[in-house]
Amino acid sequence: MNSAMILEEDRPLLEVRGLNKYYGWHPGCLDVDFELWPGEVLCIVGESGSGKSTLLNCISGQTAPTSGQVVYRAPGYGELDVHQSRESVRRRLMRTDWGIVRQNPRDGLRMGVSAGANIGERLMAVGDRRYGRIREKALTWLERVEIDPGRVDDRPDTFSGGMQQRLQIARNLVSEPRLIFMDEPTGGLDVSVQARLLDLLRALVAQMGLAVVLVTHDLAVARLLAHRLMVMHRGRVVETGLTDQVLDDPQHAYTQLLVSSILQA
C-alpha cells in the first residue's frame, strides 16, 4: 500500500522550477518553485484570482506553462519533464500514477454511466477484462468512500453533491496513484458534508501514502489536511512553510490578512 514511500533515491516526487504562465497579457502565476515529497500533502491557498488554479493546471499537466519545468520522479517514469514528455506518456500518467479531483464532480465523472462503470474505467483502461472482478473492485471502493454499495448500478446524477465527490475520489484512487491533484474538493458542499469528506480524505491519504497538491481558499481545509502550505497572492507565492507555522505565525502581510479575516468570520 505505501509503495509511494519506497523510493531508491531520496529525491522529491514532484519538482516545480521557475514556473510562469500568462493568459493574454495577464500573469496567471509567476516564478513558482517548490518540491513535493512522497506522502506529503501540500495546500495552495489564496483568494479567487490569486493564480492558484492556474498553477494547479500547469503542474497537473493539463496546461502548458509559458516557461519553467514540472518534473515527476517515480519508478516506471524515471525523471520525467512533464511538459516536454510525449503525449502518450502524459496520458498514461494521468490514468494510472496520477489522479485529478475536480471542483465540480460533474467535470470529473461520466454522468451517463453507473457508479460502477465510473470506478471501473481506469481498470478497463489498463486492460482488465473480467467483468466480475471489475465489479468487485467497484463495490469495495464504494464502501471505502462510504457510499452504499447497493448504488453501484445507479448513475451519478442520482447522487448528492457529497456522494458525487466521493465517487470522483474513488474513480481516481482505484488505480492506486502516487499523486493526486485536487481543486477545491469541498467547494459547494454543506459544512457537515465537507467535514465528512475531509475526514475521509485524511484517512485515505494516510492509508495509501498519497502525495497531494490541493488548491483551496478555505484555510480550515488546509489546517486539517496539509503538511505544508503555499500562500498565493496576485500570481505569486508570498509565503510557504509548515501549515501550523504559517497559520499560527504568518510573516507576510497578505497571509496575516488572510488568517485574521478567518478569525473574524
Partner: protein, 364 residues
C-alpha cells in the same frame, strides 16, 4: 405494414420517367430554357456555382433546370460533374484590388477613396411583391450606372494597415503550399486555407446561421464590415513555355473583409483581426457570413475564450457540406431491415429478461 423495399430495374426506370414528366410539368406552358435561368436567376446560379465549387454559369443553370430548382440537388450535380474534369493548370492568385468594381461599400468609414458604390443591390429596396413582374414583358427603365472608370478602389484594410492597427497578413509568414480540400482528406486541426475552402463551398444556410450566432454571444465581440466589393477579376495562368502570365478569362467575385477588435495577449498587442469571405458571383450574404465564421474559427489561435460549437472547427467544418449532409440524412430511406431485425430481437430479449426479473422480485 412493414414490407421489404425491393424493386427491379424496371421500377427504377419507371421512377425516372415519372420524374422527367414532373420536371417538364404542364406542356401548355413554355419550357424553361437554360439561357433564361442563366440570365434571370442569378441568385440561384451563383449559389450553385459557389457550393458546387465550379465557375460555369451554363452548367449551373442546366443543373438547376435538371433539379427542378432544388439547389442542393443542383449543387450535387455540379460537384459530380466536377469530379470528372481534368486539371491542366492552377491559376495565379486573383487580385481583388484590381477588380473591375460594380459594387463597393465600407461600413467602417463614412467616406473612402473611390467612394461607396451601391451597385445592383437589394439593400434598401422595400420588400413589397411587385405584381408588374407577373407578365413576361416587363418594362425596364435603363439604370444610370456611372462611367466604367479607370477609378481605382484602394483596399480599405490596407489603408488601415498602414497605421499598424492590423495584424500582419499570414501570407507573408507562411510559405507552405496551399491545401486542396478536393484532393486531400480533411484532417484536424485544419489550417486556415483549408478552413476557408470548406466554408466557401459550405451550405449558405448553415454558414449564415453560424454567422448569426457569432453576433448573439456565441462568438467574440462585434465585427465591422471594413469592405465589401463585387465585380470582375481577371484569371491568369503562367504557362512554363511562355514565362509570362496569360489571362484566360474574367470571373465575378464577391469579397468581404470583416474586422474585429482584439484586446491583445502576451504574444500580440491590441489590434484589429480579420475575417475573410469570398464567393463566386454576387453572393454577399454568404461572403459576409463566411468571413464571420472564419474569424470565429480563429479564436483558439488567438487565445480567446471558446464559448460554443461555432468556434469549434471540428463541429463547423464537418457539417458544412450540404452534399454530404443531405446524402447521409437521406440515406435513412435505404433499407435497414437487417439491422432493424437485430434491434427488434434485442428489444424483445431485454423486455423478456426484465419481465423475468420483475416476476422474480414479486415471488420473493
Amino acid at each position: 405494414m412493414y414490407v421489404a423495399v425491393k424493386g427491379g430495374e424496371r421500377a427504377i426506370a419507371n421512377a425516372h420517367a415519372l420524374l422527367a414528366e414532373e420536371r417538364r410539368g404542364d406542356t401548355e406552358i413554355p419550357e424553361l430554357s437554360v439561357a433564361q435561368i442563366r440570365s434571370q436567376m442569378r441568385g440561384a446560379v451563383d449559389r450553385v456555382m459557389v457550393e458546387g465549387s465550379l465557375y460555369d454559369r451554363d452548367l449551373a443553370a442546366l443543373a438547376i433546370k435538371q433539379a427542378q430548382g432544388d439547389l442542393i440537388e443542383a449543387v450535387f450535380l455540379l460537384r459530380a460533374f466536377r469530379t470528372t474534369l481534368p486539371r491542366f493548370a492552377s491559376t495565379l492568385p486573383v487580385d481583388t484590388m484590381a477588380m473591375d468594381v460594380r459594387r463597393r461599400i465600407s461600413s467602417t468609414f463614412k467616406d473612402v477613396p473611390g467612394g461607396q458604390i451601391l451597385g445592383p443591390t437589394y439593400d434598401y429596396t422595400h420588400r413589397l411583391l411587385d405584381f408588374s413582374l407577373t407578365g413576361d414583358a416587363t418594362q425596364i427603365s435603363p439604370a444610370r450606372e456611372g462611367e466604367p472608370s479607370a477609378q481605382k478602389f484602394p483596399s480599405v484594410v490596407s489603408m488601415m494597415a498602414a497605421e499598424g492597427l492590423f495584424e500582419q497578413d499570414e501570407v507573408e509568414t507562411d510559405s507552405r503550399a496551399v491545401g486542396d480540400l478536393t484532393r486531400e482528406p480533411l484532417t484536424f486541426p485544419a489550417r486556415r486555407d483549408v478552413r476557408l475552402q470548406n466554408l466557401a463551398r459550405g451550405d449558405e444556410g448553415f454558414v449564415l446561421a453560424l454567422g448569426y450566432a457569432s453576433q448573439r454571444g456565441y462568438g467574440d465581440g462585434h465585427p465591422f464590415a471594413a469592405e465589401i466589393r463585387m465585380g470582375g477579376v481577371e484569371v491568369e495562368i503562367l504557362p512554363e513555355e511562355l514565362g509570362f502570365p496569360v489571362c484566360i478569362g474574367e470571373i465575378i467575385l464577391t469579397e468581404c473583409q470583416m474586422v474585429a477588435k482584439f484586446d491583445g495577449s502576451a504574444e500580440r498587442p491590441a489590434q484589429f483581426t480579420r475575417g475573410y469571405g469570398l464567393t463566386f458571383g454576387f453572393q454577399e450574404r454568404k461572403a459576409m457570413s463566411m468571413s464571420m465564421v472564419d474569424r470565429a474559427l480563429r479564436s483558439e489561435e488567438l487565445g480567446e475564450e471558446i464559448k460554443g460549437p461555432l468556434q469549434d472547427q471540428e463541429f463547423v467544418l464537418s457539417h458544412s457540406d450540404n452534399v454530404e449532409s443531405s446524402g447521409f440524412v437521406e440515406h435513412l430511406k435505404l433499407p435497414h431491415y437487417v439491422d432493424f431485425q437485430a434491434e427488434m430481437e434485442m428489444v424483445r430479449s431485454l423486455r423478456a429478461s426484465r419481465t423475468h426479473k420483475e416476476e422474480g422480485k414479486e415471488n420473493e
